[in-house]
Every structure is written in structure tokens, then in C-alpha cells.
Amino acid sequence: MAELNVGDQIPELRVTPDKYLPHRYAGASGDFNPIHIDDEFAKMVGLPRNILHGLYSMGLVAKANADLADGDPRALKHLSVQMRGMGMPEQEIVVTGTVKSVDGDRVTIDTVAAQGETAIIKNAEAEVRL
């Protein structure tokens, strides 16, 4: 990994969760809230369809940042996010990030995850030790 400087973009992460991803994430995480895995239930409570788990999208933001250290699980020291928009299965998620500060081996990165024009993870700040 080349040295990072303030203002640098981190490599973009693009993922399109398939139709059954929310089911796999529900099993992996233990969060079986029906708004994520039951399309009919989701529509009944006023959502356009079953939606992604916010913590899945946050997991992709964590991946985009940890990938700066080749996915080393020790590298990510802090991550705070706001979950605002709804993430949809079968639509591409693009995670982008900009280096906000560099202090020795600690790099702080502002990150956003979006589907089209909709930010699904906002104001994400990650601290990575490289």
C-alpha cells in the first residue's frame, strides 16, 4: 500500500448484494427482523420491499477501510457511522472514502456508502492503523 496523504481517495469498493443476501446476513448475524427477509411484511409496513441490514452496509464500509491493510482485522481501530437511507438488495453499493488526517501510522478516513444518489451510510469515520 502506497503512503496515504490527506485528501487521497481510498480504492472504491463496489458490491451488488443479490436477492438472498439479506437471508445469508440474517443467518450470519442472528438478526431476523422480518423487514430484511420478508418482502410481503416489508411492504405491509410501508417499505418499498425488504431492505438490507444497516449493519451489513456498515460491514462493507469496514471492509473498504480494512482493505487498506489487505483486510487485516487488526487494522481497523474505530468506526462510527450514521445509517439514514434504506439499502436495497439487487442494487449496486459503492463505498468511497477520503483521507481526512494522517498521524504517524494512524489514518482517519471519511467514508460514504451509496446506492445511486442515495447515501445509505453517511458521516462514517474510520481510523485505520497501517
Binding site: 443476501l21 443467518g27 469496514a62 489487505d70
Partner: protein, 146 residues
Amino acid sequence: MPIKTDAVGKEWPGVTYQVGREKIKEYATALGLDNPVHADVQAARAAGFRDVPAPPMFAVVYSSPAMAPAILDPEVELNFAAMVHGGQAFEWDEPACAGDEITTTAKCLSIEEKDGKGFYVFESNSVNQDGARVARGTWTLIVRGV
């Protein structure tokens, strides 16, 4: 009716979660994490871990069993049906590895009303079997129409 804030400062008893290799693999696969340390104990040991390490966001898996009783506590009076998970933060220390027994305690940090919405903030503190801190979480839950 003003929002009920009696539960601010309340702490709940710790809940212990045993981290397993297959669960880590399942989580890493769902997220598309391709570092072989999450699936292969030899790769994990070669990278300096005592066993297969959990990805950082696996913190939600081992801390959620401690958060559920706090969020659903009748004293908190949080309308679960109108709740969205609005914000989340984690700070990580010692990596969690397969075989670890991680105990998480939950605490209610604040309950506030803003623009007709209730903001419920909880903290989770997770320590491993050696007493080393693994992760600290801040969970912000937003309830519409309080």
C-alpha cells in the same frame, strides 16, 4: 407526553458469547471478506493470531445478545415497532478469535427527544476471557413519533 428517561445510567448483567470458527467463516462469507485468516486456521496462525480471528464488525454478533435485553427492557419503554438503527460506532482493541468467551455488558447512556423523535443511546463493553477489552460499541436507536 415527555419521553421517559428513568433508564438513563442503567446497566444490564453481562452476557457471554463463545466465538466459533464456523460462525466467523459464515459471517466473513456473507460480507465477502476474502482474507483467508477468517476461514483457515493455518493462515490465521501464520499471520500471528492464536486462532481464526473475527472481522471487526463481528462485534455485532457477540454483543447483540447483551443488547437485546437492554433495548427490550420495559423500563426503557422503547417502541421497538417504530425504531430504526440510526447510528453505530465501535472501537476495537484485542482481536476476538475462535475459542474466545466474550462477555458484553450494556448500559443506557442517554434518552433524548429531538424534533418529535426519541434518540436512545446505549453502550456495549465487550471483554474476553482474560479480561482484555475487545470492543466498545455505541448504539443509537431512533424512534419515530414519541
